[in-house]
């Protein structure tokens, strides 16, 4: 095996461990998830698809973090890896309420699942076609003894009512529902176990706009009612702006910028974020749109560009960009960015967030 190949196979797993800060429900530190590429006669690992390649952020209790980025940038994998739903992580830390998620035993993990839930992207394929809706929603409730057996029926009715479903829907099967109703079922299923944290993986992208608004409002109402924390994954920027308190922008497995919604949408720092936001349509025919059109398509995550991964498409590309990976630093209080344009800016001293 050549030297270059061997280098491709090595996984760099060095990071500074974070200590638990109780204001954060979730602390993600340098999280990595690589998928091996098998090749050759004996299915040897010949490389990795670096779906999530060192993502770091902290999520405050009761807030919503939006995670945006192009298709294939690793948003979904990131959400699933945080919940330990796609096998083992490759590196980094995921602290949920101060506990490393990947250190839990199977049994502990199963009970932890009541605290951390996910709403999947496709509301139809994520519901078992052979189970009636009451069973889909109630199964985990029964399994984890969330409520006593006597209260079970009323509890399920209550959850369904909260999510805009009728009690008589219980005996029906997923194929008998419309898209919006199916998404409500998915939400009801996730919330039935009384979670603290919910990953919403593009919960509205499969729905038409009128239903999208309903679902978004429902999610917001439920957040208020149950003090939920959301990680809201979406490529719909206007939805993210509406629902999120903080926003993370992902590009090719990395977070390139992270900050409050106001900061990110008001003063985007990273060239990628700027390009992304310039694509938001403005409902004003006279508005001068300065679209930044990105050339080319997203590079392969199996063989990402050297240095800053975005340099191949960046309008402000400098010599250093293709050589040195930019540092992830706090440019302004609570506003993180990884870009060489801000190399001279001193990191914000007050990590006041």
């Amino acid at each position: 095996m050549s030297k270059e190949k061997a280098q491709n196979l090595r996984i760099d797993n060095t990071f500074d461990p974070v200590t638990y800060d109780p204001q954060y429900i979730l602390m993600v530190n340098n999280l990595k998830k690589y998928f091996p590429i098998k090749g050759g006669m004996i299915s040897r690992t010949v490389g990795y698809v670096k779906a999530v390649d060192g993502v770091t952020f902290n999520l405050k209790r009761g807030t919503t973090m939006g995670l945006v980025g192009e298709s294939g940038c690793g948003k979904t994998t990131c959400g699933r890896t945080i919940l330990r739903l796609s096998g083992d992580k490759t590196g980094g830390q995921v602290l949920f309420n101060g506990k490393e998620v990947y250190d839990l035993s199977d049994r502990e993990m199963r009970s932890m699942r009541t605290k951390m839930q996910i709403i999947f992207q496709d509301p139809f394929s994520s519901l078992s076609p052979r189970l009636p809706v009451g069973e889909i929603i109630g199964e985990a409730v029964r399994e984890h003894n969330v409520v006593s057996r006597a209260e079970f029926d009323d509890y399920i009715d209550g959850v369904m009512d909260n999510c805009g479903l009728q009690p008589f829907h219980k005996d029906r099967y997923p194929h008998e529902f419309s898209g919006g109703q199916r998404q409500r079922i998915c939400i009801a299923r996730a919330l039935a176990v009384n979670p603290e944290f919910v990953v919403c993986d593009e919960p509205v992208s499969a729905l038409d706009v009128s239903i999208q608004a309903q679902i978004i409002n429902l999610l917001e109402d439920l957040q208020e009612k149950y003090k939920l924390t959301y990680l809201f994954i979406s490529h719909d920027l206007s939805v993210v702006e509406h629902i999120s308190d903080t926003v993370g922008v992902m590009y090719l497995g990395n977070l390139v910028e992270y900050g409050t919604t106001k900061d990110i949408f008001g003063e985007p720092l990273h060239p990628y974020t700027k390009a992304l936001f310039s694509a938001i349509p403005v409902p004003d025919p006279d508005a001068k749109m300065k679209r930044i059109v990105l050339e080319g398509s997203i590079p392969s995550p199996a063989n990402p560009p050297s240095g800053c991964k975005f340099h191949t498409r960046c309008a402000n590309c400098m010599k250093i960009c293709s050589e040195v990976t930019p540092e992830w630093k706090e440019i302004r209080p609570g506003h993180f960015c990884a870009c060489h344009l801000y190399d001279d800016v001193k990191p914000a001293e007050t990590a006041a967030e």
């Binding site: 739903l85 009541t114 519901l127 052979r130 399994e143 099967y173 176990v193």
Partner: protein, 339 residues
């Protein structure tokens, strides 16, 4: 649902009509004509009529002087009024001969199928849940080997090992004999045995044939289960089940396997007629008078009434099997229930 079943039954009748027409045409056109064989034999006896005269006489006797279409219509009329005729080769009523031999094949078929389901489905599930592991590779290679194994060769191997190489003392006489009998269904002393002994003697004779049938059939079902299980295990709703925090056992047996049942039912429903069709190689090599062996002999000697009855029986079973599979489908898959 009732309307659906009636529609399917009517369709089955039409299919049956054409299937049997094709079979009848093929049987009439076979080069091994029963009548010609008899005519040749008779004409060679000293002082006999010529071959052509015998042929004409026999053709008229057996109703073969009519064309294929009128002959078929005639057969159809007889069949639906319950007149199945006499077997030319076995010279007894078709239904008697059939009844005499089919139950042995059926018995073997049912036992084989039960063993097949018990062995192949769990193996398929295990292979799928441990995809790309050593267990999976072992099971898959074995399955492939079993599928590829020629029956007659496998039987010869089994006989060599279990009937010749491994010897045990005969409990009655004390002399050495094979662990299992080479051929046949009964021992010579069968008539002197008590009913319990008779039962065990018969079972003892059926061990090797059934082993053969099971081994050659589990490969396919196992691979089928594995493929379908893999497909289901990769489905999004399995991830949902995991996200619910269910135990792995529940995820696999409660969520995944239930959804695998749908294609399995089709396969099992489709193999129901196989219970009656017999196993030609196995029955022949173990000299078991089953329907596979008997019908094969009927066919090569041009015994049209027996062949037609046997094939009509299989056609009806196949059509019914498909219908039953479709109805079972509705039972296991709620999405089909209203259609």
């Amino acid at each position: 649902m009732r309307k659906y079943i009636i529609k399917r039954l009517l369709l089955a009748v039409i299919i049956f009509f054409f299937v049997m027409l094709i079979i009848y045409t093929v049987l009439r056109c076979l080069p091994s004509s029963y009548v010609e064989t008899i005519a040749r034999e008779k004409s060679q006896q000293p002082g006999s009529k010529s071959y052509q005269e015998w042929l004409d006489q026999l053709n008229a006797m057996y109703g073969l002087d009519k064309g294929i279409i009128p002959g078929y219509i005639g057969w159809l009329g007889e069949f639906f009024t319950g007149h199945f005729g006499d077997s030319w080769k076995y010279t007894v009523p078709v239904i008697d001969k059939f009844n005499e031999v089919v139950w042995l094949s059926f018995e073997m078929g049912v036992i084989t199928m039960i063993l097949e389901l018990i062995i192949a489905i769990p193996l398929g599930i295990i292979a799928a849940t441990k995809q790309y592991s050593k267990t999976d590779y072992t099971i898959s290679i074995l399955a492939l080997a079993f599928i590829s194994l020629p029956t007659f060769f496998f039987i010869a191997l089994l006989k060599l090992v279990f009937c010749i190489k491994i010897q045990i003392p005969d409990p009655a006489t004390g002399s050495m004999m094979g662990l299992f009998p080479l051929t046949g269904l009964f021992s010579r002393t069968y008539n002197q045995m008590t009913p319990v002994q008779q039962f065990f003697d018969r079972a003892w004779h059926l061990v090797l044939p059934i082993t053969t049938l099971v081994i050659i059939s589990i490969g396919g079902l196992m691979r089928y289960t594995r493929t379908n299980m893999l497909e289901v295990l990769n489905a999004d709703y399995i991830r949902t089940a995991r996200a619910k925090g269910l135990s792995e056992k529940k995820v696999i047996y409660h969520h995944a396997f239930r959804n695998t049942l749908i294609p399995l039912v089709t396969i099992v429903g489709g193999s129901l007629p196989g219970l009656f069709s017999g196993a030609l190689f196995t029955e022949t090599m173990f000299s078991l008078p089953g329907i596979g062996y008997i019908s094969y002999n009927a066919m090569i000697s041009g015994d049209i009434p027996f062949s037609m009855f046997y094939l009509a029986f299989l056609a009806i079973l196949t059509l019914l099997g498909n219908l039953i599979a479709d109805i079972l489908y509705a039972v296991v898959d709620p999405r089909v229930r209203l259609a």
